[in-house]
C-alpha cells in the first residue's frame, strides 16, 4: 500500500466505492447460496458473485493499476472475458446435473 499515497481523489473514491460494492455483492451472493432452501433457488446466488462482485473488483483494479503503471493495463479484461464466458456454461452444466439426478 505504499504506492497509494500519490493517488488523486478523483480516482481513489470511485475505486474505494467499487471495492466496497464488490465485497458486498460477494457476501450477498454467498448468503443467498447459504440460506436458500432449494437447489434451484441456490443457483441464483453464485450468478451475483460472478457478475457483480468479480466485475466491480476487476474494474477497480484496472483503474488502480492503470494509474500506478501510467499506462493502460488491460490484463483484467482477460479474466473478465473468461469468467463471463465460463459462468453460464458451468451454471448450465450444474442445472443439467440437478435435473438429471432428480429424475433418476
Amino acid at each position: 500500500m505504499m504506492q497509494a499515497e500519490q493517488l488523486p481523489l478523483w480516482l481513489g473514491i470511485p475505486v474505494a466505492i467499487l471495492l466496497l460494492f464488490g465485497g458486498l455483492f460477494t457476501l450477498i451472493g454467498a448468503l443467498g447460496l447459504y440460506r436458500s432452501p432449494d437447489f434451484y433457488q441456490r443457483i441464483h446466488g453464485p450468478a451475483v458473485v460472478v457478475t457483480l462482485g468479480l466485475g466491480c473488483v476487476l474494474i477497480a483494479s484496472m483503474g488502480l493499476f492503470s494509474y500506478w503503471q501510467s499506462r493502460l493495463v488491460v490484463h483484467e479484461l482477460l479474466i473478465t472475458l473468461f469468467a463471463f464466458m465460463s459462468a453460464p456454461v458451468s451454471a448450465m452444466l450444474m442445472m443439467r446435473v440437478a435435473v438429471y439426478r432428480r429424475k433418476k
Partner: protein, 92 residues
C-alpha cells in the same frame, strides 16, 4: 485519501472472507452432491476475488496471472465434476 482506500480494501477483504466461510458451510452441509458442487464453484470465484484484492493491497500485478490460472482450473474442475455426477466417470 490513503485512509479511505485502505479501509475499503480491509472491509472488502473481510466481506469476501465471510463469503468464503458461508460457501464452506454450504459445502459441508449441502444435502445432495449438486449442492456441494455449486458451493465448490462459488468457492473458486471467491478465491479469484480474494487473490485480486490481495494483489491490489500488495500493489503487484503478478497476481492477475494467478487469478487467471484459478479461473481456468475452476472451470475445468466444475466441468469434470458435472460430467462425473452425470455419467459416473469423467474421462471416457
Amino acid at each position: 485519501m490513503l485512509v479511505i482506500l485502505s479501509y475499503a480494501l480491509t472491509a472488502s477483504l473481510i466481506m469476501v472472507a465471510l463469503a468464503i466461510l458461508l460457501c464452506g458451510a454450504r459445502l459441508l452441509l449441502g444435502p445432495t452432491a449438486q449442492d456441494r458442487m455449486l458451493a465448490l464453484d462459488t468457492l473458486w470465484v471467491c478465491a479469484i476475488i480474494l487473490v485480486l484484492l490481495v494483489g491490489i493491497r500488495v500493489g503487484n500485478s503478478l497476481y492477475f496471472e494467478l487469478a487467471l490460472l484459478i479461473a481456468l482450473l475452476g472451470f475445468v474442475s466444475t466441468m469434470a465434476l458435472a460430467k462425473f455426477l452425470m455419467r459416473g466417470e469423467s474421462i471416457e
